[in-house]
Structures are given as C-alpha cells and as structure tokens.
Assembly symmetry: C2
Homo-oligomer: 211 residues x 2
DNA sequence: CGCGGTCTCTAACTTTCGATGGAGGCCGCT
DNA sequence: AGCGGCCTCCATCGAAAGTTAGAGACCGCG
C-alpha cells in the first residue's frame, strides 16, 4: 500500500516556511514535495500541471492574489488536487472564505509536525482536517445564528473603519449619503450597536472586517 | 578564522518555522543551531546559559510573554547574546519596542535565506541589519517629528476605539464630556484627522493604540 | 521662580450621525 | 407570478460629535 507517494506543492511566500514544511514533511514516508510556489498565482499555474495530490496553501501572500482566491481557482478544475490551508490566523474573515473556496482542511502553523503529516494524508484521501480552534469557530457559527453582513454592508463598514465620513463613503461608492446611512443602520441592528465606532470595534472582534 | 562557529538559539512558537530556520541556517558554514525555544520564557532561560552567540527571536508568541519583553530581559544581562528579530510584521508597534529592547537586527520572514545568514553573521559581529521596510520606517520617524500622545490622550482614544461615546468615556474616566472633547480635539490635531473613526484608524496604523 | 506642558473644565455654535418610517426596483427561487 | 432579500433613495428630527476660544491648576525643569 506504500507504493505511490503523495505528491505535494508548497505555496507560501516565506522561504523559511517553505523550507520548514519541506524539512518536516520529507522525513515522513510516502510524502514527496515536488514543487514550491512563492506567490498565489504561481501556485495556481503549478497546480494545473496535474502532478500534484495535495497543495499546502498559505492564506496571506505579500503581493497579488490571496490564498483563498487561489484555492477557489485550483479546486474549480476537474481532477484538481486537494488544498490544505496552513496559515497563522484563524479569524472568521480568513477561515470562512477559504472553506467556501473548497479547501479540504485548515491547519495553523503552530501545529506540531505529526499533526501536519496526518492532515496531509487525510487530505489526500479526500477527507477533512480542521484545527481545533477552527472547528470551535464553525460550531459557534452553527449554534449562534450567523451575523452575516451583505457585500454592500461590509464594503461600507470597511470604509467607516478607514475613517471616512458617510458623505465621503457615498462619493467613493457612488451612493447618496442617505443610502450609506441606511446600510449602516442595518449593520448597527445586526451587530447590536448604535455608533460607527462601536460597529467597527465589534466587527473587528468578530473578524467581519480586516484590521 | 573559520574556527569557532556561531552558536544559535531559535525562538519561535511555530515548529515549522523553527525547522525552516534550522534547515536554512545549518547548510551555512560556520553556523550551528544549538537550541530551540517554543516560548519567550524558554528563550530567556535558555539564553542565560551562556553558550549562545545569536538568538533568532520571533515577536509574536501564542501565549505568555512577547518577543520584545524577552529581548529586553536577554540583553539586560552582561555578556548577553545578540538578539536578531525575525518576524512577519513590521508595524511601528512591533519594530520600535523591539529595537528599544536592545535587538541587534530586524528581519522579516519573507527574507531570502542568504540575507538571513548574512544578518546572523552581522549580528554576531555586533553590528546591525535592518529589513529595508524597517529602515524606511525609522527614517520616516526621524524625518517627521514623532506624533506622541499624552497618557490621557491615549487613554481616551483607546476607549473611543472600543466604541464608547464621549459621555460614556467621561463617566468611565470621571471627566466631563467637554473634557473628553478637548482631549480628542488635540488628538485630531496631532494626527491630522477630523473624526473619531479616522483617529482610530490612523492611530492603529501608527501603532499608538492596540487593536 | 518663571516657563511650558499636561490635564481639567466651560460655553456656545455648527456639522455630522443615527433613528424612524417609508418606497421602488432588481433578482433569484419556487 | 409571487415572495423575499438586497440595494437604492427620500425626509425629518433629535442627539452626538466636533470647533472655537478661552481659563485655572499642577508639576517638572532650568
């Protein structure tokens, strides 16, 4: 049963992390790192070549596409490799898009090497591994009815967090100030707050917007 | 001159990163990794044993002490090793405390391996290496006179960031609403903004308040 | 001891926000 | 076709926030 090894692609913009993953995974029998990618774009093109079983994907890349978009593009093709997210953060803003994009698993970089290898094998078999904190988060999502903001609401709130006035937001988004207010009023209701600064604070806590 | 190797301690809470640093640095002649630490506390005690030349220190540890505090404790002793910061972020809130704490250098994890090795050698010789973005940041600091907030101003601004109203801040701090407003007015002037949300945004960028 | 900076407070005034209660159009799903 | 989200817009009104222009008290430094 140990005939065909699992072929891996490492996608991370940090050379040190790639070297670490390589060092950790290549000591494992049955795992072979066949390629590395320093950008999300590279990962997409490399994964398309068809000789990869599992992609270990970071979410944050310094420039260009993010890991979530890359994951979506990779998993969109038929016969695509599995994508295992290996990242530093686990906020809602990170995990949910990645899972929606079709990731087969989600690990944190502080995971011990043996967990990593086990997750790779699980992913290769098409099953899911989630870091405990991520699993907790998902359970909470299901338990407490999701506080989800619409695209427009998130967009407006992000600009509020950037310090813009309602009028400035309206100009930026080609809306009237009144429309901006309506969006914000619904955001406040959803978040249970009554001011823009409070909305930014709790939305940041919930990981609904980027810091 | 290649007789005594440079002895290294790797301090990072991610096993993968430690493995990566080890892999990258041990291929370099004259460098030996003699110890690893998964927490800042461990790093401090291990560095005290006296057989270390350079500590590669992360700033973010999952739990407990941070890398900046650990750096301060390590460099405080006589005959202390050099501390080279190797981290992911380069905001003012990270770099400045670390440098104040006595770090000999500051690199980002996306640095290429050869830069890393070079920085270790430079650090061992007691000289400084800074990542370009960090150097830029320091130059800007010197060029634009420091935007420093007084204790009270920071205190008020932090509560604003928490989403409180001026009245609520006044109650919390035993001030009148008017006093809160005058503190904020001075904060706005210093930061060059004209609203509370903008103040929170730029103060967060500048690392003047915690997220 | 005077000077400068910080902290506190005041009062009146303008602008921006937020609440309220609609309303119409578009789109996807059934 | 009908229904439910989502997005857009409107007007009004009271409540915050921000502006301006002061002033007194404390404290450390030279």
């Amino acid at each position: 049963m140990t005939d065909t090894p699992i072929r891996l692609l490492l996608a991370d913009d940090h050379p040190v992390v790639r070297a670490g993953l390589r060092a950790v995974l290549e000591t494992e029998p049955g795992l072979v790192v066949v390629a590395e990618a320093a950008t999300a774009e590279d990962a997409v093109t490399r994964a398309a070549e068809g000789d990869i079983d599992v992609v270990l994907m970071d979410l944050q890349f310094g420039k260009g596409m993010g890991g979530a978009d890359a994951t979506a593009q990779i998993t969109a093709r038929p016969g695509a490799p599995r994508v295992l997210i290996v990242t530093t953060y686990d906020s809602d803003a990170d995990t949910l898009p990645a899972i929606e994009a079709g990731a087969t698993g989600y690990l944190l970089k502080d995971a011990p090497p043996e967990d990593l290898a086990a997750a790779v094998r699980t992913a290769a078999a098409g099953r899911t591994t989630l870091a405990p904190t991520v699993a907790d988060r998902l359970m909470n999502r299901l338990r407490t009815p999701a506080v989800t903001l619409t695209r427009r609401e998130t967009e407006v709130l992000a600009l509020v967090a950037g310090g813009l006035s309602n009028q400035a937001i309206g100009d930026r988004l080609h809306l009237t100030e009144g429309t901006v207010k309506s969006h914000l009023a619904r955001v406040y209701a959803k978040l249970g707050v009554d001011s823009r600064t409070a909305a930014v604070a709790t939305a940041t806590d919930l990981g609904l917007i980027r810091r």
